[in-house]
Symmetry: C2
Subunit: 256 residues, 2 copies
């Protein structure tokens, strides 16, 4: 049975893409078949994996508009068992034209249904907003994983995110649940980080992953080499944290 | 003569809000009359200034829809000469309804024209996207200031941002120019940061501000106290950097 996970948070720069690629990479290294869907017009996911986007013609945008079958837009990442459905900046325009189409919120879900049985995990990297692209991601997913920076401002958007997830559950996807919150960019020396983690534990009891991702410069260097953290610096604290997160996610799935 | 500055970058978490509030605060401390417009449904700007948003009924959303005159939605920040036009999460819904209205891209410009002569500077904090809200911000502005994190992934969105600014100049606002790029969260110990700054100098010659904002934990603590950095910790490297940035902006204006 496959699991579709949306990685979402409308707050910007919290580690959504970093979590999507490294969690995906880790699950593939453990023999799971993984598809990464990039729903962000910035298209950072492909860049982080070393994929050149200039010549891409069939991407997630064409799939959402029904112009290309999803199988033709999915491409390998060069890592065994790890495919990607990439995005380009044109996706920003697609989001506008999508608004006028029938079934505009469930286009991604319909497309993924065609290939879902070929994968154990489908991870969806969402843009920093609660727009139609993110709605497509949430409408397609079984669960939502929320990366949350250990910063005060990160707390502000949680209520709105929770509300949006409730709306999706009511109108578009009744099986959607919050898989967990991943605390990211944790700097143990800062009081603020500890206070934010405590606050989130109160707000989302039992939902916060035990694995906390530390602030680790190697994580921000890896994308410039087109490598996963496990490839760029496997001994780094960032690599160890994402390996532990993949382990924890798998354990949660087995006990569910 | 007033100056309207959009603070924009679709990459998330790069310091747009932090730059908008602290630049605004600094300009007000120097006796300029400043209005801060929050175009982000996250509404972080008001929170950073210690303003409670729960009971706000008239915000930028109602102004864009033409339901409230802008004068009734503008409120004081408690700092002399520094006002705010706040945002709440409802703004996400406004962006959707705005899409179907006449003059949808220039609603903010029309509203600001009514109060512009009461201010020397109007700063517009944009959301992390190139949606209709950001388009309203760019269509209203005389110049764009682009905060850019010293990270590899931050470079990726520059071409798209430049393209969008060109489109706005062609179709909506021929006077719009790029005022400058502000490098943020600079960590001098990291090679990557130095490489990114060099790359940006090549991409935007003469456009990069000399003032570089360092990564400084005090900047991320100040919002939890509802204070500007100049109030929270005036001796901090963050406070000194934003004071220098305000000075540099004023010098650029005088020589223009
Ligand atoms: N744990 C970490 N330690 C240090 N740097 C990190 C960490 N996680 C991510 N980064 C870096 O921080 C920046 C923001 O991360 P990322 O782009 O993954 O966030 P995002 O939520 O996907 O952003 P956006 O909202 O723009 O999509 C990137 O430059 C990334 O390389
Ligand atoms: N120079 C800095 N040093 C350390 N932390 C910073 C700095 N500038 C901003 N921050 C913190 O980093 C986070 C992101 O900054 P901010 O919210 O201003 O970015 P943004 O671009 O407005 O984000 P969004 O894309 O979500 O609107 C915040 O928690 C802020 O407090
Ligand atoms: Mg991202
Ligand atoms: Mg912001």
């Amino acid at each position: 049975q496959h699991m579709i996970i949306a990685i979402a948070n409308q707050k910007g720069g919290v580690g959504k893409t970093t979590t999507a690629i490294n969690l995906g990479g880790n699950l593939a290294q453990r023999g799971r078949r993984v598809l990464l869907v990039d729903l962000d017009p910035q298209g950072n996911a492909a860049t982080c994996l070393g994929i050149q986007k200039q010549r891409l013609e069939q991407t997630v945008g064409e799939v959402l508009l029904g112009e290309t079958p999803i199988q033709e837009a999915i491409m390998p990442t060069g890592r065994p068992g790890f495919d990607i459905l990439p995005a380009t900046p044109d996706l920003a325009g697609t989001a506008v034209s999508l608004a006028g189409l029938m079934a505009r919120e469930t286009r991604l879900r319909q497309a993924l249904a065609v290939v879902a049985n070929q994968y154990d995990f489908i991870l969806i990297d969402c843009p920093p907003s609660l727009d139609l692209l993110t709605v497509n991601g949430l409408a397609s997913a079984n669960q939502v994983v929320i990366p949350l920076q250990c910063e005060f401002l990160a707390l502000e958007g949680l209520a709105q995110l929770k509300e949006t997830i409730e709306l999706i559950r009511t109108h578009l996807n009744s099986t959607l649940f919050i898989g967990g919150v991943v605390m990211t960019m944790y700097d143990g020396r800062a009081n603020l980080a500890r206070q934010v983690v405590e606050e989130v534990r109160r707000y989302f009891p039992q939902r916060i992953f035990n694995t906390i991702i530390p602030r680790n410069i190697r994580l921000s260097e890896a994308p410039s080499h087109g490598e996963l953290i496990a490839e760029y610096d496997p001994q780094s604290r960032g690599a160890q944290a994402y390996a532990a997160l993949a382990e924890e996610l798998l354990q949660r799935e087995e006990t569910r």
